[in-house]
């Protein structure tokens, strides 16, 4: 009887995974991302830029701890204890923000409710390949319209954790790639996470200068995009007050700014090699700036459909 159960245990994950739909895979992934304790060594590739990093997450004394460290260049780390993320960088004092995850490795929406992504993307099951010495299952995020970029993700067959994530432009060219090169699961948290749980991190910063924005609305938005934040703050660096609206469809984040038009004219359109586009629309003596990792035509249309209620 015991043997039979054991056999069943061994067989069941395999037979089970055969039947999984693309969405099941993603749902399992988002659960794994929030529950599994693991260490991942990762490289991020953007155009001709490669950045190695290491990411750990685990539970210490019922606290969810995560740690991210960039391995090249000046030290840059981030530590998450429950819902506070502290950024430690060489050139400024550490500061904390409220957030339930450390950004910068996988798209934030992969940690959350996958069904939100379905409005803009179709999930398609792809083939299997070997990544970081593990078997990976490919799932494609096919954009449902031409207003956003495609993406694809490989998930570990054993743990459902992401092994590789690519963003592709409309011509299916690679914009960005995040790839695990080593993935280790652990049951006892490593000392660095235990230390992080005991350390006193700075208080969450107060953003006192944030005012409410005007009643902005969009006459048109691509399917799946919605307004998540709108406020009035000063731009970092040039201290100019701007009206700010954040839009997201889960994978792509778009920021829309309304500011007084500067004396020096701005370029109408600008594209960086990692896929970030920026579009500037002049409306009277104001300028509407939209930027995000989507095709610039999308930004142009979004910027033009901004209106006051």
């Amino acid at each position: 009887m015991r043997l039979f159960l054991l056999a069943l245990l061994i067989i069941s994950p395999f037979s089970h995974s055969e039947e999984l739909s693309a969405k099941d895979w993603l749902v399992n992934m988002s659960q794994a991302l929030s529950e599994t304790q693991f260490k991942a060594s990762v490289v991020q590739i953007q155009a001709d830029h490669v950045r190695p990093l290491v990411f750990l997450q685990g539970t210490v004394d019922e606290k969810r701890i995560a740690y991210l460290e960039y391995l090249n260049g000046p030290p840059k780390n981030a530590v998450k204890v429950n819902n506070t993320v502290t950024f430690l960088e060489h050139d400024q004092p550490p500061y904390s923000v409220n957030a339930n995850l450390i950004q910068g490795v996988w798209p934030v929406s992969l940690y959350g409710d996958i069904s939100k992504l379905e409005q803009g993307y179709q999930f398609v099951l792809g083939g299997r390949s070997r990544i970081a010495g593990r078997a990976g299952q490919l799932i494609r995020f096919i954009a449902k319209d031409e207003y956003r970029y495609d993406a694809q993700i490989w998930l570990d067959l054993e743990t459902y954790l992401p092994l590789r994530y690519d963003t592709l432009n409309r011509d299916k060219q690679l914009l960005e790639q995040t790839m695990v090169i080593e993935l280790i699961e652990f049951t006892d948290s490593p000392s660095i996470l235990v230390e992080a749980s005991k350390h006193d991190w700075p208080e969450v910063i107060k953003q006192a200068d944030r005012k409410d924005a005007q009643d902005w609305q969009f006459t048109w938005l691509p399917q799946g995009f919605s307004m998540v934040v709108s406020d009035n703050h000063r731009l970092i660096g040039i201290h100019e007050p701007v009206e700010y609206i954040a839009l997201t469809d889960g994978l792509a984040n778009i920021s829309v700014y309304v500011a007084r038009a500067p004396e020096a004219p701005m370029p109408e359109e600008l594209v960086t090699r990692n896929g970030l586009s920026m579009v500037v629309e002049k409306v009277g003596n104001a300028e509407v700036v939209a930027l995000g990792k989507v095709p610039s035509q999308t930004l142009e249309r979004i910027a033009r459909s901004l209106a006051l209620k």
Partner: protein, 201 residues
């Protein structure tokens, strides 16, 4: 006679003869080979033998001397003519590459400008007016690869002054940095964690 002449030569090689005997020996052509051989033997015994023994150096030198003027004199002037013809093409290509280089420097300079402006904006955000502590948002949310300008006036085609271009870049940088910073600061930009019940279904 033969024997004694050999002894003479041997003595001459060792430097044991006077000048008179030496001139006598010099006039004796047969002894020349002996002289050479004795020197060779002496060299071998002292271990001064070169790696390749050219036994007839005098002949090769004579041949070289004979060849030299005939090679040098006639070939000199045609060579100049050929150079004159050829030098035209490389010169034009030099000009082209110079322009190319110039363009590359301009591009490199503009990229550097973006980088510098980025740094400057950090510095400036340290003053009291700053809404927040200094944030270097670039590394954690994603690096900026050099901005490639597809369209628009940034490429200074329309005769903007340097200052205007600088101002533009500063502003563009501010927007890009703020875009990334907001994603970090606003939990609202992040999609909230799904409730576990939903996931477990």
């Amino acid at each position: 006679m033969v024997k004694s002449s050999q002894e003479w030569v041997s003595a001459a090689v060792d430097g044991e003869v006077d000048a008179q005997t030496l001139t006598q020996l010099a006039s004796d052509v047969d002894s020349h080979q002996e002289w050479q051989r004795y020197h060779m033997i002496g060299d071998t015994m002292r271990g001064e033998l070169p790696a390749a023994i050219d036994l007839d150096i005098t002949a090769s030198i004579a041949a070289a001397i004979e060849l030299e003027p005939t090679i040098m004199a006639p070939k000199n002037s045609p060579a100049i003519e050929v150079q004159g013809v050829e030098s035209k093409t490389p010169k034009t290509s030099n000009v082209v590459s110079l322009f190319k280089q110039f363009g590359q420097y301009a591009i490199a300079a503009s990229v550097a400008l973006v980088a510098i402006v980025g740094v400057q904006s950090y510095d400036q955000s340290q003053d009291v007016e700053s809404p927040l502590p200094v944030f270097n948002t670039r590394p954690l949310v994603g690096t900026m690869s050099p901005v490639s300008l597809q369209t628009g006036p940034v490429t200074n085609q329309q005769g903007y002054t340097n200052e205007q271009v600088l101002e533009q870049r500063k502003r563009i940088n501010a927007y890009i940095q703020d875009h990334m910073l907001q994603q970090r600061l606003n939990p609202g930009v992040q999609v909230e964690q799904a409730n576990q019940a939903e996931i477990n279904q």
